[in-house]
């Protein structure tokens, strides 16, 4: 799965979770860049990502992910 393919699917996930089709994310996107990205939506986002890529993000990383780039790294490691 290429990084591009991941982003294609990941953008859809973000657009659904935040219910805003204009959203596109990149390696440097952080929670500061998306107004509604708070603790609540972070959980929803993780759940949605786990479903989309059918794998579990380890607890520790859920807390420490600094930007979307790291999220993509994790997906590419273990996601499908």
């Amino acid at each position: 799965m290429t990084r591009e393919e991941v982003y294609e699917r990941l953008n859809k996930v973000f657009q659904e979770v935040f219910d805003d089709d204009s959203i596109t994310v990149n390696d440097d996107t952080t929670s500061d860049d998306i107004e509604d990205w708070d603790s609540f939506e972070h959980i929803n986002l993780v759940v949605a990502v786990e479903e989309e890529f059918s794998f579990k993000i380890p607890m520790g990383k859920v807390v420490t992910m600094k930007n979307v780039g790291e999220m993509v790294d994790i997906i590419m490691e273990t996601g499908k």
């Binding site: 959980i43 929803n44 759940v47 993000i57 607890m59 859920v62």
Partner: protein
């Protein structure tokens, strides 16, 4: 005097686990359930006629009325009541919660408690003996968690009912108390994302979420004769959260 236990919401893991541990102390257990399941089935097999099962959907006023006549129909004087019913809790921002999420939850948990206790308390008062225990929640403590206002409100409403009944029946030999656990590993948590469940376990001083057996001794104590002077209390079982 024979003790007969009425359990409302008996098909929950918590109710079933509790009944399995404490049934020996009672002549009969009248257990309301919504949906039969294998655990409840095998408990019925085990206890036979001692366990009287009554089905009803508490969201339906008519079925609740039917349940009450069913309880009366058994002809068994109720001395102890355990109240468990609560719809699964889903997380949602306050503005996105339909009011039905509040009223629906209240009708089931508060409504069932009010209607059924109104039916059994007078005769418990005549007998000058009774115990009522509500399953409440740690959300009653201090600042509640975010994003489940409907759940918090319904638990507070039950807390209010518990206190009001404790005051009204204190001079009639009836105690009314509550038990407020932190997250307990049951079907009830199925609606919660796994990471939240994991997070809760890690943040707990005991390093895990609770299991039903962590609560049973507190429930049995509140139901016991020895707790006759304990009423209006809400006991937190949280492992130190």
């Amino acid at each position: 005097m024979e003790k007969n236990l009425l359990v409302i919401g008996a098909s929950s893991d918590m109710a079933m686990g509790t009944m399995r541990r404490i049934h020996t102390g009672y002549g009969h257990i009248i257990a309301h359930y919504r949906r039969m399941n294998s655990t409840l089935g095998s408990l019925k097999e085990e206890l036979g006629s001692k366990l009287v099962l009554l089905q009803a959907d508490l969201a339906d006023e008519g079925e609740t009325a039917g349940l009450i006549s069913g309880i009366r129909g058994t002809g068994l004087p109720i001395s102890h009541v355990l109240h468990f019913p609560a719809p699964p809790c889903t997380n949602q921002r306050f503005p996105k919660l339909p009011y039905a999420a509040f009223s629906g939850e209240l009708d089931i948990s508060l409504g069932s408690a009010v209607r059924i206790l109104q039916a059994v308390l007078p005769q418990m008062a005549k007998a000058r003996n009774g115990r009522v225990v509500f399953m409440l929640s740690f959300v009653l403590r201090d600042m509640p968690p975010k994003y489940c206002a409907q759940y918090v409100v319904s638990k507070y409403a039950l807390l209010g009912l518990m206190r009001a009944l404790a005051a009204e029946y204190a001079d009639k030999g009836i105690t009314v108390n509550g038990i407020s656990p932190a997250w307990v590993m049951t079907k009830y948590l199925d609606t919660q994302p796994e990471i939240l469940i994991e997070q809760n376990a890690q943040e707990s001083p005991i390093g895990r979420n609770l299991v039903v057996d962590d609560l049973v001794p507190t429930v049995s104590w509140l139901l016991s004769d020895g707790a006759a002077c304990v009423t209006g209390q809400n006991i937190y079982v949280t492992g130190g959260r």
